[in-house]
Amino acid sequence: MTVRVQTEPFDAGVLLSAFSAGRKQSGGIVSFTGLAREATDSKAVASLELDAYPGFTEPAIAAMETEARERFDVHDLLIVHRYGPIAPGEAIVFVAAAAEHRRSAFEAADFLMDYLKTRAPFWKKETGPDGERWIEPRPSDYDDVNRWS
């Protein structure tokens, strides 16, 4: 059970290997890696900056993780989320779920991503050719998270 919020870049492959190592009970692991896009709604994004509130953001994500553990039959979960400046193509978020059977692992990862995309305490700013803009969740993100209520 781990939640990490960090400014340092991470390698999703390394995280997945470490998360998978030594597991004998779990029949499956699902992982998701979210990347910074080079364009949003066909507008170029030169850079992305995520603001976080250290000491507030981690406990909020840990509460989402606890809820995922209560809802799904998983052995283990890992959430790593970056903040600060992030270049296009770099990984922003990594989620992994280990479970005895695949369905629970898929569902837990899906649930966590929907929650992270709408409720995680981050504030996102994109800089492009038209200047800077602060981003809020898309309507489709809310539709996604409402599937779980």
Partner: protein, 81 residues
């Protein structure tokens, strides 16, 4: 010294992310009023839809008392990750 933090777009509106107050007002609503008096544009942003305030990293109501060593953060609607 109380610490006041502006997160997300509030930081850009205020032109600062963090400042300290030697003698903070007694409550969160009084702090909001003080910040609004100093900077009406920031006041408008602070009173915007969905802006929450946290005292010592817990989302708090407007009548929450503020002590001299507290940390107060203003949080715009969250973007998600």
């Amino acid at each position: 010294m109380a610490k006041v933090l502006m997160l997300g777009r509030l930081r850009d509106v205020a032109g600062w992310r963090e400042r300290t107050l030697d003698h903070p007002p007694a409550t969160l609503s009084a702090l909001r009023a003080l910040l609004t008096e100093e900077d009406p544009a920031l006041g408008e942003a602070l009173n915007g839809k969905g802006v929450q305030a946290a005292v010592n990293k817990a989302v708090s109501r407007e009548d929450t008392a503020i002590g001299p060593n507290d940390e107060i953060a203003f949080l715009p609607p969250m973007s998600g990750g």
